[in-house]
């Protein structure tokens, strides 16, 4: 019995650590974008490296959790849902890492008057990811709170969509090269995409929660 509970506790800690990494990844993304916009290249580079490390750590943790869940036939009824949640939240992490790396590789030129809006977009996207992690944590411990967190994710996702639309409209109203317009839109879509991924996780989570209630 002790062995069973000890193994369970270890796995629980791994899941918690994995979710911590997803949140930290989102915060690193937010900070990284801010440093990029402010032109603080060193700090930005540092954050790109850090988020990359986090992503690798998240991947290995996720694989370890998946393997243990299957090998030890834990939570047989909900194993599929939990794995789905971990994998889809990993996509959020991957998307954030990939976007920050693209900032580094492509060095997009952000117009000065659009910078605050880019910051807002990043903030609401990050908030969506943070609420997504809270929703997942609640799925594990407090089912009743999942709904509240999912609602927040939806809200932030809508926010980022509307900020993204606003930026795109402004960008395309400017008298600049089409290539620059498209480049900026590309980054807006990428940042928005992170919130969209978070929303997809929550759609999955909503169904998984209903299944646990049944």
């Amino acid at each position: 019995m002790d062995l069973l509970l000890r193994r369970t506790r270890e796995l629980e800690l791994q899941i918690d650590e994995y979710l911590d990494i997803v949140v930290r990844g989102a915060l690193l993304f937010k900070e990284g974008v801010k440093y990029y916009i402010k032109g603080q290249a060193d700090q930005f580079e540092e954050h790109v490296v850090l988020i990359d490390q986090m992503e690798s750590r998240a991947d290995s943790l996720r694989r370890s959790i998946e393997t243990r869940l299957y090998l030890e036939t834990l939570i047989p009824e909900f194993r599929g849902d939990v794995l789905g949640l971990l994998e889809s939240s990993d996509k959020v992490m991957n998307r954030a890492t990939e976007t920050l790396t693209q900032f580094k590789v492509e060095s997009p030129e952000i117009l000065e008057d659009l910078k605050p809006m880019f910051m807002d977009l990043t903030d609401s996207t990050t908030a969506a990811v943070e609420s997504m992690v809270l929703a997942i944590r609640s799925y594990f411990r407090e089912l009743e709170k999942v709904r509240d967190h999912i609602n927040k994710v939806m809200f932030y996702e809508n926010e980022s969509d509307s900020i993204g639309d606003k930026i795109k409209r402004l960008v395309f109203s400017k008298d600049i090269d089409l290539s620059r317009k498209i480049h900026m839109r590309y980054f807006v879509s990428h940042i928005e995409g992170i919130a969209d991924e978070a929303e997809d996780v929550c759609d999955r989570l909503a169904i998984a929660t209903i299944k646990r209630h049944l």
């Binding site: 069973l4 629980e12 036939t73 047989p76 009824e77 939990v82 594990f140 407090e142």
Partner: protein
Amino acid sequence: MIWLFISTGLFLGWSLGANHAVNVFGTAVVSRMVKFKVAATVAGIFVILGAVFSGAGASRTLTELGAVNELAGCFTVALAVALAVTWMTGLELPVSTSQAVVGGIVGWNLFTGSPTDMASLSKIVSTWVVCPLLSAIFAYGLYESATFVIRRSRLHILHLDAYTRIGLLVVGAFASYTLGANNIGNVMGMFVAASPFENLDVFHMFSFSGTQQLFLIGGIAIAIGIFTYSYKVMVTVSDQLFKITPLAGLIVVLAESLVLFLFASEGLEAWLIGHGLPSIPLVPLSSTQVVIGAVIGVGFAKRGRGINYRVLGRIAIGWITAPVAACSISFVALFIVQNVFEQKVVHLVPYKITPDVVRALTKEGIPPGPLAKLSGRPFLGSANFRQALRGQQRWTENQLFLIFSYSELDTIRVDSALVPRVFASAPLSAGQAEAVKKLHRRLFVHRWQVVQSLVDSCDEWKPRSGRGTEILNKELKQRRELLFTAFRIQR
């Protein structure tokens, strides 16, 4: 030959193990919360323990309903029950072994002309209705409490999973114990009256009664059924009946085991009576129906989601079809075994209405006129006696039961020198022993006369009336039975 006769009981045991382990470990095994080998080992061990140590209570009720007193008769009744269960399962009709056994025994009573104890029969039938209801109530309450506690404790899903796993194993063990205790009566209950086993004294440490030896064999048969065939049943049946989460499964099994325990535990019965509470009849139940009741209870706790009300109707149909089918098959099978295979399916009990019997029955409210006409004539076998009585007037089954009880002949010569040995483990009180001594060397032809004489000379032999005296009366009855067995010259 004994093993050949017991074989049908063993087959019933095997079938019980194969078909009913699903009620104990179905959800746990199918949801892969507990490995089948672990589940089968735990279930096998605890079923045997339950059957040997707590099986007496529920099976006694079956013996009271009808004491099948020849091994060939037991064989035939058990075979009839097995056939009825198999036949009805083939027709996809709801069937319960417990209910079929009752039908089988009543079939034996009808065939042999033995009176059916209507009090026992009504006690048994009423439990069929009460038990699914009770388990539904238990399951509802347990589910509500469990969800409240889980919500409050904010348990992690993995911890909840670990506790559910442990719970399924512990509750499964308890449920197996109660299944063995409650249902061994179905398997071996009808063999008790004709048990070929002698009481064993193991190293003067504890005694292992003939009935317990019989139940051990039955328990092993159930365990073999669990090991050999229950997995297939679990995989096939679980989806139809138990498409529920492991946690709900745990609640269902807990509710089921509590109900089975209530209707099998002599200890609990003694405790209830000791505290002035109404006692619960010890009766073999249908574990499947109890489980269905519990599943419905959980369904109600989930605000009526997933309840199939047609299942309820099917249970109610089963209350009638299973006993009627088993009763009919039992009657026909006994006829065939007796007349085609020329086997003795009933030990012919002698009856005689003496003036003493008429007086005693008159006190019980039986009209003496028709009895007096038969006074002095010996009758061999219940059927002959019943026919002669019927020739006089129409009797109710209760009246017949009384007349049969009083008129049964026995030959009992009291030998007070045997008392210390017979009652070595639970000695008689001084008054009781003195009363037996007073009857030394006296010869009785009816058992009730011995009882009457003992009561006349010592109040301590007198059954008490009123609430809380059931256990005392049960003990007195057991002591009287011991006296009869020890002092009986011939039957």
